[in-house]
């Protein structure tokens, strides 16, 4: 499968690698100017090897319905990335994005009206659909072959329920990031910390110079009816660093209780930053303001110089106000949230998965396309403004649009990286999308102790 790139006019397909590279660079340059008026339209389009889909027969004129949580403006780059497949096979992809998808999908499945393919935002939903509704079909062999080739065993495991492989991973998010202002750091003479102790030292140093509302850290966990999730990410990242990946696995599988001393420890370690009024909440208020600050805006005080560091996932890149330059020399950039030592690289990740509810040839062909490295590269090219990355090994980092996306890809591909999926997505819904979220709110807003919070969450764990 060779991947070539061509301009939108497919007639002038450029085969030479050099020329295509120049094209990609041109696309980067465009977006770096901050011009990016409309995203999908101007993107370069990948050409793919159509031979992979010939075994599914003649698909001309057929349709595949896709149901997903990804809405505008990200939806545009999604649909643009389907173009090469549509051109190859003549299949029409009907794309339906809805923010209510997680609630609506089980309704449609129960009513006997499921979509052909659903892009599941978390493995927990896949488990519910498999265990409670028996609705998702096991992945076809072509998809499994693609995943074996392109993804690590861990990622394949997230799409597996009780030994059966159902859902191929689609995109990946890296959550272990700390956003900061490179120029503020340079002016103050601070270095990016590489160990947890350095991070705490830096925090203490910055805190000495607190003036007015300025604090070393800012954070916010308000997110509508999902309020609390950014807080759970914080805790998960710290559990990975203080207790290690093995304990992390036992934690989300409930082999150890939620209020295990090691977890309480992790809460306390996170609390050394998040519950210290000298360290938070830059430009936003006191410790309790973390519970009410909107997560999408919580990093903005960095732009005013009121806050130095903000821990948020790679997709925070697209939340910055228009005109903010993201880059090593830009207004904001991110560094990897350091672990105990500089050699360890535990990383919190998340991603989407492709579940299929029907097994018509065109659906299987499309499923195969989505799980392939071809798609990952097509998606990278279709996202000229950046903000998307995948752990697919076949993804060529040169196709990614921004330095920051390349940094994310680098972390995902780094052999030293120990990736762990967002635990709240893997825990039972009663905890992962309910009591854990609420616990975070109580932890900040009512100043409950780490022990109290973890005890309450442990009590809510479903017993059977």
């Amino acid at each position: 499968m060779t991947i070539r790139m061509a301009s939108k006019r497919r007639a002038v397909a450029l085969a030479a690698t050099g020329a295509s590279l120049a094209l990609v660079l041109a696309a980067c340059a465009d977006t770096n100017d901050g011009g990016g008026e409309d995203g999908g339209g101007e993107a370069t389009q990948a050409t793919i090897d159509c031979a992979a889909y010939e075994e599914f027969g003649d698909l001309e004129g057929t349709e595949v319905n896709v149901y997903t949580t990804i809405v505008e403006p990200e939806a545009e780059t999604q649909t643009a990335s389907y173009k090469p497949f549509e051109d190859c096979t003549g299949v029409t992809i009907n794309y339906e994005g809805s923010r209510e998808m997680e609630a609506q999908l089980p309704v449609r499945v129960q009513a006997g009206n499921p979509p052909d393919i659903a892009i599941l935002p978390q493995p927990g939903l896949l488990q519910t659909l498999v265990n409670d509704y028996d609705a998702v079909l096991p992945a076809p062999k072509q998809v499994e072959a693609n995943v074996d080739e392109g993804w690590s065993a861990e990622w394949k495991e997230y799409g597996t329920v009780d030994g059966t492989f159902y859902a191929a991973p689609l995109g990946s998010n890296v959550k272990s990031y700390v956003w900061y202002s490179p120029s503020m750091f340079a002016d103050a003479g601070y270095e990016v910390p590489t160990t947890w102790d350095e991070l705490m030292e830096l925090t203490a140093t910055i805190a000495e110079g607190n003036e007015g509302a300025t604090r070393p850290w800012c954070a916010g966990i308000e997110s509508g009816d999902a309020t609390g999730w950014p807080g759970t990410d914080w805790i998960e990242d710290v559990v990975l660093r203080t207790a290690g990946p093995d304990v992390y696995d036992q934690w989300y599988t409930h082999e150890i209780p939620f209020n295990d001393p090691q977890i309480v420890d992790a809460f306390d370690t996170a609390g050394e930053i998040l519950k210290n009024p000298d360290y938070v909440n830059g430009g936003l208020g006191g410790v309790d303001s973390i519970a009410t600050a909107t997560w999408t805006d919580a990093g903005y005080p960095i732009l005013d110089g009121n806050c130095w560091m903000h821990r948020a996932a790679n997709f925070y890149q697209t939340q910055w106000p228009e005109g903010t330059e993201v880059g090593p020399d830009g207004d904001v950039y991110a560094f990897y949230l350091p672990a105990q030592t500089a050699d360890e690289k535990p990383t919190l990740v998340a991603g989407e998965f492709i579940g299929a509810f029907t097994d018509r040839p065109e659906v299987q062909a499309f499923q195969t396309y989505l799980s392939s490295a071809d798609w990952a590269n097509a998606k990278a090219l279709a996202t000229p403004a950046g903000g998307w990355v995948s752990a697919n090994k076949g993804l060529d980092p040169d196709n990614l649009a921004t330095d920051f996306d390349r940094l994310s890809a680098e972390i995902l591909a780094d052999p030293a990286t120990v990736a762990r999926f967002d635990a709240s997505d893997l825990m039972p819904a009663a905890v992962g999308t309910d009591s854990f979220w609420n616990g975070m709110v109580e932890w900040f807003a009512s100043d409950e102790s780490s022990q109290q919070v973890t005890d309450t969450i442990e009590d809510s764990w479903p017993k059977n």
Binding site: A75, R99, Q110, Q319
Partner: protein
């Protein structure tokens, strides 16, 4: 003969209007009390404040919305700073690959039949319950009335699977039917009560003149029902226009109305919530026009249907 009969209800009308006038006079007196006026003004301001805030917010630039409250615009406006922009409306209307106009049209296509169908059916049913004597009428009426307490949420999945079995899912029919089903109990109840208020002698007079049910319905009842009809039509229009649940569950890509689009405006991770205020006002325009232009029927009709005497 017929002239005599037709004249019988005549005294009814002045009596009713005079009692109405009495009530109006009393109300006018009570309301012109300065305390009552102050209270009314205070309540009006309190109730309007959130809407005003939303309106102002919808005209503010993104960063301002995120960083300060809408009430701060007054200070900045006096200071001569440019604090308003149409950017949010531009984003809500023209951003994205899908045109808002399609959703606007869908909203009308969904709403108009979803108002017309239940009203037509409810009119016939209400007439039957009010003026046609048949066995079990009371029981049936109570059964229909009791349907109002069934929460629509528990009907969603069974209803949708029924549509799937019938093979009509994905069309506008599912939405029209669902809205009609959910609206009928209240519609029948309201219209029935209003019809019962029409003096029996009036109906009997028409019957004496040889009018059948059809003629009584069209010649006598329907003209008298106009305020009640208008009231319920507005009621149903607002409900269907603002509905998200039924549209989302029963509909699909081809049938989604404006509300579904507005709900998506916030973006995949809720990061674009500053556009929501503009989206809300765009979808509010039509119901606002409908309500303001028909509001006098609304009040009159609702009272007419629910309060006897």
């Amino acid at each position: 003969m017929s002239t005599v009969e037709a004249a019988t209800p005549a005294p009814e009308v002045p009596r009713r209007t005079s009692s109405l006038n009495n009530r109006a006079r009393k109300a006018r007196k009570a309301l012109s009390n300065p305390w009552a006026s102050t209270l009314a003004v205070v309540i009006a301001i309190l109730w309007t404040l959130p809407t005003v805030g939303l309106l102002i917010t919808s005209f503010r630039p993104e960063l301002d919305i995120r960083q300060s409250g809408w009430w701060t615009v007054f200070g900045s406006a006096f200071a001569g700073e440019g604090v308003f922009s149409l950017k949010n409306y531009e984003t809500a209307l023209f951003d994205g690959s899908t045109n808002l106009a399609v959703f606007f049209v869908n909203s009308f296509v969904v709403t108009l039949p979803a108002v017309f169908i239940p009203i037509t059916l409810a009119l016939l049913a209400a007439y039957g319950f009010a003026w046609v004597d048949f066995k079990g009428a009371d029981f049936l009426f109570i059964a229909v009335f009791a349907l109002q307490i069934v929460p629509i949420q528990i009907t969603l999945v069974p209803l949708l699977s029924a549509y799937v079995d019938l093979g009509i899912n994905g069309s506008f029919w599912t939405i029209w039917l669902s809205h009609s089903i959910f609206a009928l109990p209240l519609a029948i109840f309201l219209l029935h009560n209003f019809m019962k208020e029409i003096p029996r002698s009036l109906i009997e007079a028409a019957r004496m003149d040889g009018a059948g049910h059809v003629q009584v319905f069209f010649r006598v009842v329907l003209p008298l029902l106009t305020p009640a009809l208008a009231a319920f039509a507005i009621f149903q229009f607002l409900w269907v226009w603002n509905d998200l649940l039924v549209a989302l569950v029963m509909g699909d890509l081809k049938t989604f109305p404006l509300t579904v689009r507005v709900a998506e405006l916030a973006g995949s991770r809720g990061g674009d919530w500053h556009v929501l205020s503009a989206g809300a006002f765009i979808s509010m325009v039509v119901p606002l026009i409908v309500f303001l232009s028909l509001q006098r029927y609304f009040v009159r009709g609702l009272l007419a249907g629910s309060v006897k005497g």
